[in-house]
Structures are given as C-alpha cells and as structure tokens.
Symmetry: C2
Subunit: 247 residues, 2 copies
DNA sequence: CGCTATGTTGAATAAGATCAAAGGCGGTGG
DNA sequence: CCACCGCCTTTGATCTTATTCAACATAGCG
C-alpha cells in the first residue's frame, strides 16, 4: 500500500540520486561532499522480514541507513524482558548504539523486507574528520536521537494509555508525511504487542484503546490499516485536554 | 558527607591535572592531545543550587563537563507535564541535546552547588576533527547516552515500581563508586518527587517503596541519606527474581 | 483448507495514583 | 540563638487504571 514504487535503476550506491538524500546523511552536503560519502557507502544489504540486521552482542562495524522497509529495535533485560526502543523507516540511521562499546546493545529486526545502505564506521569517522558539513550533520543525527528518546521518556513516564497511543499515531503520521506518504492513512508494520512494548502497555490495552478511538470517531482501524479521521482530536488527547473522564 | 574535599589549587583549567580525567573527555588521550583539549576548555562556570545551567529554548553554544556537584535535566510537555530525563554527576557531559537543533530542548538545573567546565561546541568540532582519539571518544560519549536512555526506556516500559527503585539505587551506587565514593552509603541530592518523575512514579510510591525496602532489610533510609545493606537483594528484585508476591 | 499468528472483547484483579493528614527538617529572620 | 514557616516526607484509606486471565474471532500463510 504505502510502499514506494521499487525501482533501483543502478546497483551502485548513489546518494546523489537517492530520493532519501533530503532525509538521510547527505542533508546539506555539496555535490562534491556527497561524492565522498558515496565512496564510503559502498554496499547495500537486504534484510528479509523477521530477520535481524544485527543483534545485541554483535561486534559493531557499521551504521546503516534505511533505504526501504521498516525495522524495530529492542533491548532485553537480563531476565528476558523485552522493550522495543524504536521503529525505523526510510532515511533513518540505525546502529548508533554500537559506537559506545564497539558492540551492539540492541537487536534490530526487519518488520518487512528491508534494504539498508551499509556505512562502515571507521571510514565514516575518517571522512567526517575531513568534511565539516558531514561531521556536523552526523553529530546532529546522534543528538536528535537523544532528544527523541527524551520524548519517549516523557511519554513513558508521565502519560496515560490513551495519550501514549495518540502520540504514537501522530508521530507515525508525521513521519510518513515527511516521506511523501499519506499522513492520514497508513499501515502499521508492527503487531499490537510490539506497539505495546514500545509504549509500555500490554497488547490488550493497545487493542482496547484503538477500539475506543475508533468508536469516538478519531480514527478508523481495520487490523493493521489505520486512517486518522480527527487529528486534532488526537492532539487534544496528547496534550491532556481530553482526559478519559471528560468523554 | 560525600562531597569531595574542595581544593582547586589553580584557577586555570587544567584537564591534565583534573582528578576526573579518567571519567571525562580526556579519557584515552595522550598528553599532547590533552593540551589541545585544555586550550578549548577555557572557562569554568558555577551554578548555585536551584539555578539552571541552561533552559529549553536557550541557544546552544557549549557542552558542559560537570566538575563538581549534581544536576538534573527535565523536559516539559506542551501541557506542562515535567519529566526528569537524567541526573548528572562529576565527569559527565551535559548539553548534548542542544546539538541537533542548535537550541536546548531540556532544562538542566543544579541540585547542589555545582561547577562545570565550559566546552564551546564549535571549537570542539574543530579540535575533534584534528584529534582522532578525542573525536572517537566524543562519539562514544554520545552513543553511551543513547544506550543509557535505552536502559531507561526498558525500566519505564517494563518494570514495576520496586524494580525501578532497586535499579535506580544500584545505578547511583555504581556511579558513586566509579567516582571514589562509597557504593553503600550516599546522599540523595534529589527529592522524592524528582526520583518519582525520573522513574515514572508518584512521590508517595517512591516513599512507600523505600520504606518497604528498609523494612525488608535491603537498605537503611534516613531522609536523603541511604545505606545499601543488601545489594544482592536489590539485584534480585531488578532481575524479577523477587516479585512482590513472593515476599 | 486448516492451522497458527494476531487481534478483540469481557470480567476479575492488582498495582499504583489520588486524596488527606500529620510529622520533621532546614533555612530565615527576629 | 531560637522560633517560625515552608517544603519535604511518611503513612493510611480509597479509587482508578491498566493488567491479567480467558474465550473467541479473524487473517494470513503454508
């Protein structure tokens, strides 16, 4: 449905022609600098649905830029509890967790057939040293990830189930829109359990809240297909202006 | 109590003499490289208890390395809910959130009188480009922050109140130990409400759980003073081996 | 076409929140 | 130096929300 029309016209990696260059690492780079980046990003990798791009404990060697597809990252506690820490879509950079200890600390798994550009980290460090804009942008990407996680902490630490779900749907909506897809209609690539894990809720709660949203005319849900009918209503819920007791 | 004996013998910043150099940015640098870092870190700044180092919306100009003291960072949602995103102690780098948008996205406030080294970011970028070890270490610091936040997400998303508190106490213990203080006895610089905000709990719950831990002989609490009596007991709680129903 | 995954819904339960009251500590100013 | 005030903390009683347990529905896959 929302998958972009698949047409890689050349096998060689070419950031300069990539339709994600405005979202991905090349942002703000000159053509000359993009060429240096292209030398770096030599290979692509396909990950089938259900397979993992890397696992916790794997040696860290590369970052990955999502070209196509959808992934989740999860961390596992010593006693086996799993927490989804994020969902990743085209143009996003994954693997940043591995830099700190040279070992990945989370699992990253494709939720649909996915293709990533492989960015060998050692070479990225070298190129970043020589290309100020790239260095700067790379730092911004890492910082943005920190800020994003602050937002998730706010959500997990101080929001109710309905607020979390509403925020989640609006966030997806906005990210789809930024990629040229519909912001009102999209397919959830993840299961209710995965949404629940990410939001700190049980899958039954996710299902119930989605049903309630649908009943209140905020969204339409049909399995994984979601249509946002009343985005302002969702926004009102996120900002606490419509607590459950008022409806 | 646990404050280090205060003796700054020279006013000039000198990473090479700083007792935090094994925790802070200079980690792994040669003496020559540390000197380059010292040129960069020209000034210090004092922040009195209750004052803020920076606020959300402030223009981002510098990172700060905590030399002495204790701070918290908080994010605020549009409707005024506040979430503590972290507590910072000596040797830790704060302000990383500002890089992404050149504007700080959280407030960082001193919980006791604090002194930080000011690291002008533009100059850090230049020096990092020229000093591979520093660049590498800086990237690791950012990545470590991302990994830390994954841990907090796991805690907020999938742990019970007792598990959260136990994990929190053990984390503080370990950080104090790394700084040469006692790992079994320390002073909480933050209020119960701040602990609660960080852990996604209400202050009453924090208080109750601490009382229960004390009753079970895991810790001794006297206001802000905490003594860890049975760290293995706390670890057992964190790893879910001692759910409330079993005690 | 049947099976397993995933999703929905209901009823009972439990964990933590909320409301309320009282005690203690520290800082300030007389 | 002491008394007072405000903030922080503790503890109890009650209530709400989300979880748990369970049954059933549906869909996609082999």
């Amino acid at each position: 449905m929302n998958a972009p029309s698949f047409s890689i016209s050349h096998l060689k990696v070419a950031c300069s022609n990539c339709n994600l260059r405005e979202l991905c690492l090349p942002v703000g780079l000159s053509l000359a600098d993009i060429e240096k980046l292209e030398e770096l990003v030599a290979t692509r990798k396909r990950v089938k649905r259900g397979e993992s791009l890397f696992r916790a404990g794997d040696r860290f060697e590369s970052l990955y830029a999502v070209r196509l597809g959808f992934l989740k990252s999860t961390v596992m506690s010593s006693d086996g509890r799993e927490q989804v820490t994020g969902f990743h879509m085209a143009g996003e950079l994954v693997g940043l967790d591995g830099i700190s200890s040279e070992t990945h600390s989370c699992d990253t798994v494709a939720l649909e057939d996915t293709e990533v550009c492989v960015i060998p980290y050692e070479r990225l460090e070298e190129v970043a040293a020589a290309v100020p804009m790239l260095r700067n942008h790379f730092h911004k990407v890492m910082s943005r990830e920190i800020v994003r996680e602050h937002g998730v902490m706010l959500l997990l630490g101080s929001m109710h189930a309905e607020e979390r779900l509403a925020a989640f749907l609006l966030n997806l909506s906005q990210r789809f829109e930024a990629r040229g897809y519909s912001r009102t209609e999209f397919v959830l690539r993840m299961t209710r359990a995965e949404i629940g894990s990410f939001l700190g809720l049980k899958l039954e709660t996710v299902s119930r809240v989605l049903s309630r949203f649908a009943q209140d005319g905020l969204i339409e849900v049909n399995q994984k297909h979601v249509r946002i009918v009343n985005p302002d209503g969702l926004r009102a819920i996120v900002s606490g202006q419509a607590p459950a007791c008022e409806r």
